[in-house]
């Protein structure tokens, strides 16, 4: 059984709690363990915080996809990844965002939005066990 669901949120700090409510519902329906759900919520929240703080987008999408062995959550904004800025500046005031995501998830893939092709996508994969 595969479940897929996508929601769009305004790129504001107040959306982060709504994103987590959405993920908690999806995780519960998919029967994801509490530990894996905790890690996924933390990792995806960091990705969404980056979209809110740094993308310059008005909104971002969160796409949930669960499969038999893993859950995949993609966060997609409409912005430009600030690759020309030092990483410490990109993430301020987060600073820990990307290292945290990689520590908590089994796989993190970032495709960077550019000026000619905007939209940064962070895809976070968490195994069920």
């Amino acid at each position: 059984m595969n479940g897929t669901s996508t929601r769009t949120f305004p790129a504001t700090p107040g959306s982060l709690a709504e994103v987590r409510d959405f993920l908690r519902r999806q995780a519960s329906a998919a029967g994801l363990s509490e530990a894996a759900t905790d890690d996924l919520l933390l990792a995806v929240s960091e990705a969404c915080a980056n979209a809110v703080l740094h993308s310059g987008s008005q909104e971002f999408d969160v796409e949930w996809r669960d499969g038999p062995t893993a859950v995949e959550v993609a966060v997609r904004d409409r912005g430009t990844f600030r690759r020309r800025v030092r990483v410490t500046e990109v993430e301020r005031p987060g600073g820990f965002g990307i290292p945290l995501m990689t520590a908590l998830a089994d796989r993190v893939e970032i495709s960077e939005g550019t000026a000619s092709d905007p939209g940064t996508r962070v895809r976070i994969t968490k195994r069920r066990s």
Binding site: A35, D38, A49, G94, F96
Partner: protein, 100 residues
Amino acid sequence: MLEIATTDDPRGLRLTGEIDLATVDDLTAALEPLVRAGGDITLDLAGVRFLGSSGVQVLIRALDTLDGRGRLLLARPGSSVRRIFEVMGLSRFENLEVGA
């Protein structure tokens, strides 16, 4: 949503809700006078459902500012809060204690 209540015994804050970008400034403001005064500060985290890296950074700044003038005691963290403490390596701070 984050509710913050001041506690006298132990001296500190009781936090209920979620600590993220939307609420972290409230935590910073509530902690500031306690940190400035110095002494041990207990944060009751039993009601904290989520704590993101922005919240942990506030705790780290408080530890740096306390710098020998007191400890930060983090009481009753749930599984998710324990997890981010572990991943962010908070055990390296000598003036931090994570309670049961």
